[in-house]
Amino acid sequence: MLSTAQSPPNRNRIMLLSAAMMLIGVLGIVFFFASVANDAAIQFVLNWTPSESGEQAPSLLLVFLERVGIIVSILVVSAGIFFVVIGWRLRLGAIRVAYWARIGLIWLGLGASAFIALEIFNSFNSAAMDKEAVDFPALVSTVLPALMLALFAFALWRWLSNNLEVIFSGEDSLLGRETRLAWNLLIPTLTIFVLVAARPLEQTFIRSLTDKRFAGSAVPQFVGLDNYVNLLTIRLDTVDCKKSISDGPCDTRANGSIRWESIDRELLREGFRTIFNLRLGDQSLAISGLDDDFIEAISTTVIFTVISVALELLIGLFMALVVNSKFRGRGAMRAVMLVPWAIPTVISARLWELMLKDTSAGIFNKILLDLGAIEAPLAWLSDPALQIPTAIIVDVWKTAPFMALLLLAGLQTIPSDLYEAASVDGANPVRRFFNITLPLLRPAIAIALIFRTLDALRVFDLFNVLFGRQQLSMATYNFETLVSNQQDGYASAISVIIFIFISIFAFMYVRLFNVES
């Protein structure tokens, strides 16, 4: 059937197009690997000769991963394979394949154009910065091939678009049409994803396997999983309580807690520190880790997240319901509600720092003193027992409006006739809330909860401004290891663990609310 539809001239055009597509694919892959091999940093490693100073040789694999990476390589190679496969299958003259060829060509053209724009911008920008004339020969030599590629792709696309239905034939399904549209629509988002999320995260992952120093000149080397072992090693020991008189009662501190013996000296020398003592009668289970700060940061962050997100949901829902009812000045009220969210965190954290001063100069203490709720000013920011509650208060105040706005938008999608019908049936407001509002708001609540939870687990600005090193969240611990301790490799391992930890949370959440279906 295909052969009858194809007249000889059409057959030739199809073969030409097919060959062009395959050529683009093969040349693309070849060109990519050639430019990788010519990369300055990779050439440097290839030509590296050991000097007398006895430096370790830089690892070729490490440099390749830093400069190019696996994700970009896979993407380029699969794009090349896509072109070759589409080119090969075009021979049969099926219209489905031709549509895919058109998509490949238009994005190739757009990609090449973006590259040209970037090159031109860069050369003008750097010339302006160095106050020099633009280096036109160099610019032309890089832009010209890209320009030819872009023009070629666009011309081919144009020609294919005009002749597609003349030359090609066959069935095209609705499913196929939807799939193609979907990929076209997703490409901008996926490009951004690769550029600013996947690629940097890949570098972080690679660095987590090395001993790289931040802003150091030493050549980083692979250290395997050492960073992870150090972060995650935990051991359990049983220890006795301290007794000043043998066979007497356990010693206690002023606040009534029992004093426990420390773990074995040998273990302390290895770097183990006790994080928590779990009481078992006269003995206790000492949970110790090689990096007790990190384990503590995890537990602080989880406690902070669970309590603050729960409170935010309640307060945000309350706010959304209030500003969704009819009253005069509702518009102004919506703006008022968003004020806490609108103040930059760096500033609002300072503002709270000011309000929570540990003397009567802090308005919080002043109000509580005036009300007679406390006898003496509280040290909200420096008393370890008050630090997490303080962080929760500030975070809830700041982000409940975010919740409220998302829920308000969700409330708008509930048709008002549902409420009218329920009123006619005699349902009171409480029943209407639980039987109509809450079930129909579920998707909005699910999304607000997911994003707030993931945000809270990553909390940084707030802890950094309010507590510095005194009380660490996972992200501020990450920051301290990177910036204060300069341990880039170790900090990267922390990042990877945080990523895995949060993704488990996210996956459970999405499953729990069944959002994806």
């Binding site: 920008n125 997703l186 703006a335 609108a342 609002s348 999608t413």
Partner: protein, 282 residues
């Protein structure tokens, strides 16, 4: 007065009470920043007073002296508008694909988009720094434009996806019968129906970009003409004292919050507009 009227009055009164409660909760710290912005440096260390003892405008004078703060306001407005428009365009495209089109890998892609929010910004800061350098965007507003989607895109995509999913299937069927291509259905029919979600996510994206600090500090701090507001404020030096210039920072906070409040006032009507048009009925 009948009993019913009385009950309505009581409900009204309760509602206004709740409104006032929410207003106080949201505004008290803002009020405190407002009061502080008129205080002198000395007063910061005395017992807190609800009104400034010697109101002064010198904090505002400090903020606007030199003109660099106005420049930062302009930069922030440009970067945040561009970033939120980009998030809305790219996000609504992706959300339409993920919410209404059938294709293989849909669920996996939803997770891919969400995975952008699963690590703290600090984790990828040095990686992003390299990329911003390679693109040649370092020290320009473009560096923020390419990096801000990392936090604006995921929730835009997810919120809009859930809204697209919530729309009845009959809409597309009717559009297909009328001869619309899928993209026309999206642009002419579905997009207008999601106006409340578009406005909401647009506002949230704008505010997040407006307030972003870490990227702005690392990618634009070296170039005073590209600094955004949070960076400009953080770089305030205590000209009047050795202390941290808290009163000046609060004055600046007043100035930067007002445009956002105005923005919400302008757009808040749109949050309710969408589905009241009756497009879904019938």
């Amino acid at each position: 007065m009948t009993r019913k009227q009385l009950r309505q009055r009581a409900q009204q009164a309760l509602l206004y009470l709740l409104v006032i409660l929410v207003a106080i909760y949201a505004l008290f710290p803002f009020y405190w920043a407002f009061v502080t912005s008129f205080k002198t440096e000395n007063e910061m260390f005395q017992t807190a007073a609800y009104l400034p003892r010697n109101p002064t405008l010198q904090n505002y004078q400090y903020v606007f002296s030199g003109g660099s703060f106005l420049l930062a306001l302009r930069n922030s407005a440009l970067v945040s508008s561009a970033a939120s428009i980009f998030a809305l365009v790219a996000g609504s495209f992706a959300a339409y694909a993920l919410g209404r089109l059938r294709f293989r890998g849909r669920v996996a892609l939803l997770y891919v988009v969400l995975s952008m929010t699963m690590f703290p910004a600090i984790s990828i800061l040095s990686g992003l720094y390299t990329i911003v350098r390679q693109l040649g965007f370092f020290g320009t507003g473009l560096s923020l434009l390419v990096t801000y989607p990392i936090f604006t895109l995921p929730f835009t995509v997810w919120v809009l996806t859930s809204f697209f999913k919530g729309l009845p299937a009959e809409i597309e069927q009717a559009a297909t019968v009328d001869g619309c291509t899928p993209f026309q259905t999206f642009r002419l029919i579905l997009l207008p129906l999601t106006a409340p979600a578009l406005v909401t996510t647009g506002l949230l994206a704008f505010v997040q970009s407006w307030n972003e600090y870490l990227f702005a500090l690392n990618f634009t701090a070296t170039n005073p003409s590209a600094q955004t507001v949070p960076v400009a404020i953080a770089l305030f030096s205590g000209e009047f004292s050795e202390q941290e210039p808290i009163a000046e920072i609060m004055a600046a906070a007043m100035v930067v919050t007002i445009p956002l409040v105005a923005l919400v006032l302008i757009f808040q009507n749109r949050i309710v507009a969408g589905l009241t048009a009756g497009a879904v009925k019938g």
